[in-house]
């Protein structure tokens, strides 16, 4: 089977670009990344059709060795339609997210932050222990206190993040930030 090199190069470049975009924080860019990456993969599927420039049809007078394979094109069509649907959904999600929070950034995961901080502090401790080897634990008491303070502060921050008010109902119902001002409603608005 001959494979068109230009298609393959395009597919690789698009997939790489899309991959970089997917790793960003803004959901809009992630969406664009998914679209670009999806197009790259679709081109990759298209490369399996074989030689470019011959018809994907069988009709009288066409040599059977001189047709491209129509099945991958059908697969790509399916994939394109599916990408369209997911794109529509993610767009709605981006819109809703910016409606609620004013930005489309994916926020940090609270638990991840805690794990990362613990790992950092464990590393620092090991370094300090190396530094003050043989001096006993009192020599670096202040640094230890500082670390404990940081952990406590982070715990407090996360407790605030989890339930900011102490009001049971707000906590249970997950109080949202105040919604952004809603523009004046049109007369013929279906809502």
């Amino acid at each position: 089977m001959t494979v068109s090199l230009s298609l393959l190069v395009c597919a690789v470049v698009l997939t790489a670009v899309g991959g970089v975009l997917i790793h960003t924080r803004s959901l809009t860019r992630v969406l664009i990344g998914v679209i670009v990456c999806g197009n790259g993969v679709n081109l990759f599927v298209l490369t399996t059709t074989g030689r470019a420039g011959v018809p994907p049809l069988l009709y009288p007078g066409v040599a059977h060795t001189r047709v491209t394979d129509p099945l991958p094109q059908a697969i790509v069509l399916t994939a394109v339609v599916i990408t369209l649907a997911t794109t529509a959904f993610v767009l709605a999600m981006v819109y809703r997210s910016s409606q609620l929070t004013g930005s489309d950034f994916v926020p940090d995961d609270v638990e991840d932050r805690r794990v990362v901080l613990r790992a950092e502090i464990a590393e620092e401790r090991a370094e300090l222990r190396e530094l003050h080897r043989g001096e006993g634990p009192r020599a670096w008491r202040d640094e230890r206190r500082e670390q404990r303070r940081r952990l406590r502060a982070d715990r407090a921050f996360q407790a605030r993040a989890r339930d900011a008010t102490g009001d049971l109902w707000d906590d249970i119902l997950g109080a949202d930030p105040p919604p952004p001002p809603i523009p004046a409603r049109q007369e013929n608005d279906p809502r």
């Binding site: 089977m1 998914v34 993969v41 609620l100 926020p107 109902w169 997950g174």
Partner: protein
């Protein structure tokens, strides 16, 4: 009989169209359509299971196009068994969701979302079980995913969007990898049909075959939430509404497990990656359950136990023997049921007390003994206490591991034992904190009435008699409605799920026999291939 094979896919899709057509009014009609169609699907599934068990795989070439051109649907023993279990579970969860008034709360929405999305989800799951080629498997995954995106972010509240964004991006990326895998497989073999692939992959050079296998296993591993690619699951599932979380936890991960089973037995026999699968199973088992130990929120905790117990199924798969695969099939059926039941019970708790945070719950065994019983039975089942089905599944897997006798198998046996014990520990911890200790003072013991005060403002007043009648105005979409009496329909659905889990104990002999025959059929490969391609 072959004509019945497409029905599990077609019926829910048709019902979804009807639901959308009817619109948000006529709630009773929606319920009748949903329950009627899912009950019909369950009946079809059972008929398929009996037929597939008696006369070998049932095959339909849609449009009468012979493979490799056409769309092939195949119902062999394994597919029919998974269909039957999933049909029962989806029906139970739908009844539960109706009891929770999930549908009623969407009166203000332009179209009722829950019903159509749920039916599409059922249809997608059925298609993945029945798919006879890679492309249809991909399409089934995508149908399922689109529906699950909608269900996961239903209401569009901020926590759900945050959880949804993780889930959506991970799912989309795994779909792209899947498509690339299909492209490689097609380029190498010139077909996407499973039966033809099974024949032609054997003729390929080892490197190409391993590349295809690695791509497919990565994708299915993401779907199944096996350890190195499971981080998305505990972040995204717990925020969804209880019935949605239940059906996701039960079914969607098992679809990944089913795909791995199908691929490893039919397409890539010989199990050359068994060591990798063993490592994945080992890390899933231990890391998942250690994650569960660290949680204080019941739903998150259950999500981590889910990751852990995927390891059991992968262990059976990695053994690759008849006993191992049979054990994995039994365990999959058991785990779909039990994990769903646990999430349903957690939803009942949330409905009754307004939270699933273990530090805030307490005394539920005294104030709601029925809920406590409904939670306790599946919890013990998950931990594997005899004579429940969890014990039977684990026993089958462990015996298969001991029969294998390799050193890796014995290491995995140890991991299974540790994971089971830690599951028991976690379940006991939940029992002590949420049910057995004295109730904390801040529990909303009286029912909370959440009602719309103003249709335009989308706001709701929460009146909690349990804490001095505090009033908080919150957007309607985040309300957790608590009632002193949990609706009877929800209880009945959960009781049904518990009984389904217990029935596996009663039906242990037929179930294990069926699983054993399925495993034999999978390992023989020829019944499937000849059924599709003709002798």
């Amino acid at each position: 009989m072959n004509a019945l094979v497409p029905l599990p896919v077609v019926l829910p899709l048709t019902a979804c169209g009807l639901s959308l057509f009817i619109g948000p009014r006529l709630r009773m009609l929606h319920r009748l359509i949903g329950i009627g169609v899912l009950a019909a699907v369950l009946v079809v599934d059972i008929v398929l299971l009996v037929e597939a068990d008696r006369g070998g795989p049932l095959v339909v070439h849609l449009g009468d196009f012979a493979p490799p051109l056409g769309v092939t649907l195949v119902a062999d023993r394994l597919a029919a068994l998974m269909l039957t279990v999933s049909g029962a579970i989806t029906l139970i969860v739908l009844i539960y969701a109706l009891g929770q008034d999930m549908v009623d709360r969407e009166e203000r929405a332009p179209i009722a979302v829950f019903h159509p999305a749920y039916l599409v989800l059922v249809s997608g799951v059925s298609l993945t079980f029945l798919a006879g080629d890679l492309v249809n498997l991909y399409v089934g995954f995508e149908i399922m995913l689109m529906a699950s995106f909608v269900l996961l972010t239903v209401g569009g509240t901020e926590p759900r969007l945050r959880a949804g964004s993780t889930y959506v991006v991970v799912s989309l990326v795994s779909s792209l990898v899947f498509l690339a895998g299909i492209a490689v497989a097609y380029a190498a073999c010139g077909t996407a049909n499973f039966a033809q692939l099974a024949v032609r992959l054997a003729e390929l050079p080892l490197g190409v075959r391993t590349l295809i296998e690695a791509l497919l296993l990565t994708v299915f591993g993401v779907k199944a939430a096996a350890f190195p690619v499971a981080a998305w699951l505990p972040d995204s599932y717990p925020t969804a509404p209880a019935p949605v979380t239940a059906v996701f936890a039960g079914l969607l991960t098992k679809v990944g497990v089913y795909s791995i089973l199908r691929a490893e037995t039919l397409l890539f026999p010989g199990n050359r990656l068994s060591l990798l699968l063993m490592a994945v199973a080992f890390s899933s088992l231990l890391i998942g359950i250690l994650g569960a130990v660290a949680q204080t929120d019941l739903k998150r905790l259950l999500s981590f136990t889910l990751v852990s117990h995927i390891g059991f199924m992968l262990f059976g798969l990695a053994l690759g023997s008849r006993g191992g695969i049979g054990g994995a099939i039994v365990y999959t059926a058991h785990h779909i049921t039990v994990q769903t039941t646990l999430f349903l019970a957690a939803g009942l708790l949330e409905r009754r007390y307004g939270t699933t945070e273990l530090t805030r719950l307490g005394g539920a065994a005294r104030t709601a003994p029925l809920l406590a019983a409904l939670w306790f039975v599946p919890a013990m089942n998950l931990a594997g206490i005899p004579p429940l089905s969890g014990f039977l599944g684990k026993l089958g897997l462990m015996r298969a591991g001991a029969a294998d006798g390799g050193s890796e198998a014995y290491v995995l046996l140890g991991a299974c034992a540790v994971a089971s014990l830690l599951t028991l520990y976690v379940m006991a911890k939940v029992w002590n904190l949420a049910f057995w200790r004295a109730a904390p003072s801040q529990l909303p013991l009286e029912g909370t009435v959440l009602e719309d005060i103003d249709d335009d403002e989308d706001s709701v007043v929460a009146v909690g008699a349990g804490n001095g009648g505090a009033v908080a105005v919150v957007p309607a979409t985040v309300c957790v409605r608590t009632t002193a009496r949990v609706p009877r329909v929800m209880i009945a659905a959960t009781v049904g799920a518990v009984l389904l889990g217990l029935s596996y104990t009663v039906l242990a002999t037929p179930l294990t026999g069926l699983a054993d025959r399925s495993a034999a059929e999978l390992l023989a490969r020829t019944p499937y291939i000849t059924a599709v391609l003709g002798p």
